[in-house]
Amino acid sequence: MAKISIIVNGNPVNANVDPRTLLVQFLRENLRLTGTHVGCDTSQCGACVVHLDGKAVKSCTTLAVMADGHEVKTIEGLAADGAPLHPMQEAFREHHGLQCGFCTPGMIMTAIDIVHRKGHELSDHVIREELEGNLCRCTGYQNIVLSIAAGAKAMAKSDLA
């Protein structure tokens, strides 16, 4: 077993884990943060995207021990229970960016990462290129692209990054 200390959604978490535990397993099974999904388990679909030190990563391809000493943010960390949704979440709701909803947490975490890297004015082309690592099995990309463009703009006016 390996001792790890991670800041998850702003809260310090200490745990003993088997080194082979994937970050996504740790989040879902140990911490019960089940918004982060496992879709393909082969690093392709992006349903497991979380932020590690502020950068989008695939938590199904990251060992929990490798997150030791770092900060992790999951979909649950965007808006506290009962608090208003994060602007990107609100944009997905407003523009029908979710269909079955399975890919949505990963899409939103990726979308926020895109805004951090590329700014608030995102062309459709940039959004589509940047969404390469996130698959929607409903193939509902049109409204996801609309949602991200709107969410990016809304984030500019919000304190929530």
């Binding site: 080194p19 082979r20 992006g46 590690l52 989008a56 391809t61 060992l63 990462d113 690592g133």
Partner: protein, 268 residues
Amino acid sequence: MYEFKYHRPATVRQAANLLVKNEDAKLIAGGHTLVPVMKQRLASPPHLVDLSHIEGLNGIEMKGRSLVIGATATHAEVANSPIVGEAIPALADLASQIGDPAVRHRGTIGGSLANNDPTADYPAAVLALGATIVTNKRRLKAEEYFQGLFSTALEPDEIITKVMFPLPKKAAYVKFRNQASRYALVGVFVAKRPSDVRVAVTGAGSNGVFRVTAFEEALKKRFSHKVLDGLVVSADGLNNDLHGSAEYRAHLIAVVARRAVEAATAKG
């Protein structure tokens, strides 16, 4: 994934000692190649040695006329580095085409080169630019480093610490992606160097990355895509699989090489 013991050395020397002490130990940096194969149980190293906490392994700097990239620099760091963008824009462009944004945040240049996947992008750049792979023990020239499929000149306890790229006069990388995996079906890196021209192909060779000397000779006389007109590549030794026949890949190499030369000359 099978059980393993996890080690986190603070220095390259400690990491090398762990490799000496533990036979069949594997190094891990970003883990974006190793973790998937461990999950599929295609690899089950009893020891993992994590390089990601070793300080100073991820720097990017110019040293004289060479661009020096630390082994644990991520693909995103190489793609976005103003130093790389200034020195060898083709290399930044190549890094920006690896995997997807989340993969580029974790995957590293050293990991990619140590693994030497026949469809990886970096080997084409390293071979075409005539880079030097620096390890904890020695310096390896690109030509001696790559030794076939997933095979390199690295010894079991040898660790890549940095890669030194001499600056080319002109260079470009063009990748023809497999539409499903996004790996290179054919990727060609063309480099016009002070003394010669090199054309390196990834994705197509059944023995990994290789150079196309016939193209190099023609381009050395005149660096223009026009000199490649009529030149063909033999399908012998090329991958022949469900993604494309050897003949298709041979044809693609000629097409993609021409585009790479066009891109290199357009950049001035």
